[in-house]
């Protein structure tokens, strides 16, 4: 996965509203209007969230007459698997960063000994 894709996924999954939108889309496609309903949020705000999800490749929008419904890009179960994968990747990267911090700590302790 390219770093920019990972960044987009990180952003997409980090936000609870976006996770809730994905949950809603798992039950079928929906318009921005329909997605906005359960949230105390404006349509432009929901639209912004959907754009982030689009950029991460998690959802697509199609044109259907006047409607532009949003749908999960992958079939739902596959999306779930990829969700877990992304969540795990997030922690993997954080713990890889922790390895570097631990190395710094060890070097500092050696120096002060």
């Amino acid at each position: 996965m390219r770093p920019e894709t990972l960044d987009a996924t990180f952003a997409a999954l980090a936000d609870p509203t976006r996770r809730a939108i994905l949950a809603r889309l798992a039950t079928g496609e929906a318009t921005i209007n329909e997605l906005a309903e359960p949230f105390a949020m404006s349509q432009p705000a929901i639209s912004k969230h959907v754009k982030v999800l689009e950029r991460a490749g998690l959802v697509t929008r199609r044109i259907d007459a006047q409607r532009r419904p949003v749908r999960l890009e992958a079939e739902p179960m596959k999306a779930a698997a990829s969700w877990i994968d992304d969540y795990r990747k997030f922690w993997e990267r954080r713990f890889d960063a922790l390895d570097a911090v631990l190395d710094e700590m060890k070097a500092e302790e050696k120096k002060s000994r």
Partner: protein, 158 residues
């Protein structure tokens, strides 16, 4: 034996568990989890992200709060209370994501176990409601999907 730096992931009804080894003493890994200055160094996200808030009161009953920000993205935060601390051995804390998170507050227990200079960390995230874990993992596709953990395991394995 060098540390196994892969992240292991286990799942049961009420809990998610991450297992990871580090080439460091249990005391060092523990400190990296309880000292705000050290936490900030490794919890910071990919390039472009910053942490405008990273506080961690290192005592039982203390609060912690981590906030991530990005110039083009909506930021997010996690916070909670430290329930138990045993230096070099164990941290127990509550964890709550900002906003309308589906998971609600979880209890996270992190164990550090050192053997020959390698520390094995087990981070166990416990949910009150077993449904929540499925929702959190499967992005909420519980209604009508009848998705079993077995299905999911198979998919992840493929």
């Amino acid at each position: 034996m060098p540390a196994d730096r892969s992240l292991k992931f286990e799942r049961s009804n009420h809990a998610l568990t991450f297992v990871r080894q580090f080439d460091a003493t249990a005391d060092q890994v523990y400190r990296a989890h309880t000292d705000a200055n050290l936490i900030r160094k490794w919890l910071l996200g990919p390039p472009g992200w910053s942490m405008p808030e990273c506080t961690h009161e290192n005592r039982i009953g203390g609060k912690y709060r981590y906030v991530w920000a990005h110039s083009d993205e909506q930021g997010f935060g996690i916070g909670g209370t430290i329930l138990d601390l045993k230096p070099g051995t164990r941290i127990v804390h509550t964890e709550l994501f900002d906003g309308v998170d589906m998971g609600g507050e979880t209890i996270v227990t992190t164990h550090f176990d050192e053997d020959g200079g390698v520390t094995t960390m087990r981070m166990c995230v416990i949910y009150d409601n077993p449904d929540v874990i499925e929702a959190a993992l499967a992005t909420g596709m519980t209604d009508g999907m009848q998705m079993s953990y077995e299905n999911l395991d198979r998919l992840v394995a493929n």
